[in-house]
Symmetry: C2
Subunit: 237 residues, 2 copies
């Protein structure tokens, strides 16, 4: 209970006649998370997806939290894979942009990851490899010591934060679109109130209603990233 140790500190067990693999289990876990979201995930659901009784999972995985850690690291692996085949890149700015872009795409594919990252620290092998890749680029660029950590952290923060905002925007927009009149009727009063109290904010909200979300989110992401990279560049020793 109090000592919540990580999956990565325990090896996988020896085996003889297993029907299941951790890989399989993690696979259907990710499938459920992607398709139905975090709330829909339960051990019982995973088990039934594998045609097995709930208790069986505990032979492969000590806890639901551990399973989540495994799922999280698996999707971080996707970012690394995307980096593998890609051609070399001239400068550190575009090298970092590529990692950031790949991470953003992954977060958009697996929205549940973000809440997970906010909940528990993440020390899986893919997470470490990804961090190391970022450090390499920044170290080659000339950053060292604490500035190295701070620079990488700043970029990671922006990526995660931008996707959180994007998802929030999307879900609100979906809600407005889906049940149309029904929604605006209920929300009408509240929107009126916003207009009175915060005309500036209301104007921005109204403006963003007429915009292509995909495009604007991508633009915002690049905008913030460029600001950050500019600031970093001017701090190079």
């Amino acid at each position: 209970m109090s000592t919540r140790e990580s999956v990565w500190l325990r090896g996988e067990r020896p085996h003889r006649d297993r029907r299941l693999t951790r890989e399989q289990i993690v696979g259907v876990t990710i499938g459920i998370l992607d398709a139905e979201g975090r709330e829909a995930l339960s051990m019982r659901r995973v088990a039934s997806g594998l045609g097995v009784s709930p208790g069986a999972l505990y032979w492969y995985v000590t806890t639901k939290d551990h399973l989540m850690e495994l799922a999280l690291d698996a999707v971080l692996g996707e970012v690394l894979e995307g980096l593998q085949g890609a051609p070399g890149v001239p400068d550190w700015r575009s090298a970092l942009s590529r990692i950031a872009g790949g991470s953003r795409a992954m977060f958009l594919r697996h929205p549940w990851v973000l809440a997970d990252l906010a909940t528990q620290p993440n020390l899986g092998p893919n997470a470490l490899a990804l961090a190391d890749a970022g450090l390499e680029i920044l170290a080659d660029a000339g950053f060292a010591d604490e500035d190295l950590d701070a620079a990488l952290a700043a970029i990671n923060d922006h990526v995660a934060g931008a996707v959180v905002a994007e998802n929030a925007w999307r879900s609100v927009a979906a809600r407005m679109g889906a049940d149309g009149d029904d929604w605006t009727e209920q929300a009408g009063d509240y929107l009126k109130e916003i207009e009175e109290r915060h005309p500036r904010l209301a104007a921005r909200m109204a403006a963003s209603g007429k915009i292509d979300i995909d495009q604007e989110c991508a633009r915002r992401f690049e905008f913030g990233l460029a600001c950050l990279l500019d600031g970093l560049e001017s701090r190079l020793p």
Copy 2:
């Protein structure tokens, strides 16, 4: 189920002989979340904290999610309060820094808020007021239209991201410190592996072990924020 509407679209009910208030309920909710974390929060726990049966809560609040929305907006209000009494500030950079710093402090007081923000969009009155305050500063500084949104988003992202990273660091450090030998024994093999595969990363981890976390996290936060503000400033029309 599918249509998850927000608390803010429904008013509070009329009343006659209530024993409870939303305020009280939200109060003990925040208390539990602060003291024992998100997992420990249950309707039954809140009810018993108020000396009332679980079902009674549903007279005041339609759902646990709604209660969380209320709690979230309540703590966002703390940031606004912190802004009220403060003296005027010369430039837009320090005005924004003050909001960012206040938000960071709030996130550190209530770590559960971060996972919540990542999960559901947040349209409470305090959230809106806070956003408007940020917009005002940036608009006065000279930003407009989409750049205005993007600039505010970039700053918010940094604040949230930085605190997530800080919490992660803290929890790992606490784990290492608490059960000392027990932990390092288990983690030893894994750390060895990291050293082999990612020497650069291992070096950074080792270095950060000797550092004062509070101080370094504050430094990192300011570093990223300064980068961002520099980048923004150079993009002023």
